[in-house]
Assembly symmetry: C2
């Protein structure tokens, strides 16, 4: 258990990561698109369907380490059919947002927390580590290039999706020898089509998303694939938008669909108490950015 505990510790600390080999934001190369797209109506956005004009790409190889970070026009990847990401889900992602304030200044919300979680997930996935602050600086440049894609709206934001995946063309379950870190962005409204209205949740102890000894506390792609069918079934058969994931004999709450849970209840004296999630759930739930 010491090894797993060590991994958990990683996800709570940024200091552990100092001195890792990394790309450098100061070396960024930027190519601006010749064909900028029109911006969509901020009142009519579907989550994850619109993308900004540019992306960030940084390649890594076991032999040469991190390459030069590049901001390019959004474009397709050319990838070998044996790429590890297609077969063994060697992939992780993060999700954060850029907000345009009423003062017209664009702000990120705690990107250092996303970076710490992303780096811990990279270690857990046997993907290459990097310096979080360098990626934050690259992301800031990306947003600055695409600043008009940050909606002029108080209900919409720019969603930022950093991703890291194994790209070497070797079958066999083994550590990746090549990888690609990339960041795409796009304007989004609320995640659920119901907007900011309440959603209905299916709580069924037979569906288990994360478990002790697994990797539920890391933001790996593999935690999501198994949930898609169950989520569809919840919607079709029970008219629920999402699943409230339960764990163990006591049916402890772990996560809602794709996000953390924040609870509040009235105590016996009529006051408000924040729930105390039992300590060991820390092992299997995603480290929250908002807490």
């Amino acid at each position: 258990m010491k090894f797993l505990a060590g991994l958990r510790h990683l996800s709570r600390s940024t200091r552990s990561f100092s001195g890792v080999s990394s790309f450098r934001a100061s070396e960024l190369e930027i190519e601006i698109t010749k064909n900028p797209l029109p911006k969509p109506d901020p009142n009519n956005l579907v989550f994850g369907h619109q993308f900004s004009d540019h992306m960030l790409e940084i390649d890594w190889s076991k032999n040469n380490g991190w390459g030069t970070p590049k901001i390019n026009p959004l474009r397709n990847f050319s990838m070998h059919p044996a790429a590890k990401v297609f077969h063994y889900a060697v992939e992780l992602f993060e999700g954060l947002k850029a907000y345009r304030g009423e003062d017209n200044i664009i702000r990120l919300f705690r990107p250092d927390k996303n970076m710490a979680r992303m780096k811990a997930t990279a270690v857990r996935s046997h993907l290459p580590d990097f310096e979080g602050q360098e990626l934050i600086e690259c992301i800031k440049r990306l947003i600055s290039v695409d600043k008009e894609w940050v909606p002029h709206s108080t209900s919409s934001t720019l969603y930022i999706r950093p991703t890291l995946m194994g790209t070497d063309n070797h079958l066999g379950v083994s550590p990746p020898t090549e990888a690609k870190l990339f960041v795409i962005t796009g304007p989004v409204g609320p995640y659920y089509p119901t907007g900011f209205k309440p959603i209905s949740l299916l709580a069924d102890p037979n569906f288990v998303r994360a478990w002790e000894g697994g990797c539920g506390s890391f933001k790996m792609g593999c935690n999501y694939a198994p949930t898609i069918l169950l989520q569809s079934e919840a919607a079709k058969k029970h008219n629920c938008q999402q699943i409230l994931w339960l764990y163990g004999k006591e049916e402890q709450l772990t996560e809602v669909g794709t996000m953390n849970i924040f609870m509040m209840w009235k105590n016996e004296e009529g006051g408000n108490n924040l729930s105390k999630i039992k300590k060991y759930l820390d092992i299997i739930t995603l480290w929250p950015i908002i807490k």
Copy 2:
């Protein structure tokens, strides 16, 4: 539990799948490479590092269903950075082999079993279903095109890797609206570098690969990503090639690294007994092709 039980039933039956919408092997289009590669020495093969000249590709979309199956020269995919497979591990694979007999006839080993498992995994992954016999016919054509890639050797074979993945460029954890089924092949020797010699296994109950309520009984990419770091640690710290996965308080055996377990022990009378794996492990372990 009924729903999960239903899914398990799927993986044990091919009859359930009759009448699904499918591509047709009779519509296969074939383009032969103009630049065939030299075949490698069959005594010097590394698993998953060499690929045959051709591949099979079949695209699917929610609106148009399955497209025409195509055998093309092996080539890179062009994929949008938001493709579902890069973010949420919407992917599955199979692995089977073609053997060249001493009579020079090439044979597949129980491909119908692989197809049944692949189809059940497609259902579990919310990826499109198809008719297994049609894919077997397409694979036979692919092997016939690349028949000289099937090693003339009694210790090497042609490994066949069918894969199915979500390709639509929509972020958000939701069912894929586009998918790609493809098959690549390549000549292989033994999976482990030790060849057919025994391997050492690390058995540590703190590492859990599959659990009740999860998807360990399906061949989804998501079952493999979490194992890569642990496998490396097992090798580095304990000099073991693989992990013997355990489950639950009784530390029941579930799987070895990337494969099923087959056990034999001497009973008290000195005879040989095959082990009886407890019935409920059926829920969390991969359906074996050899049994």
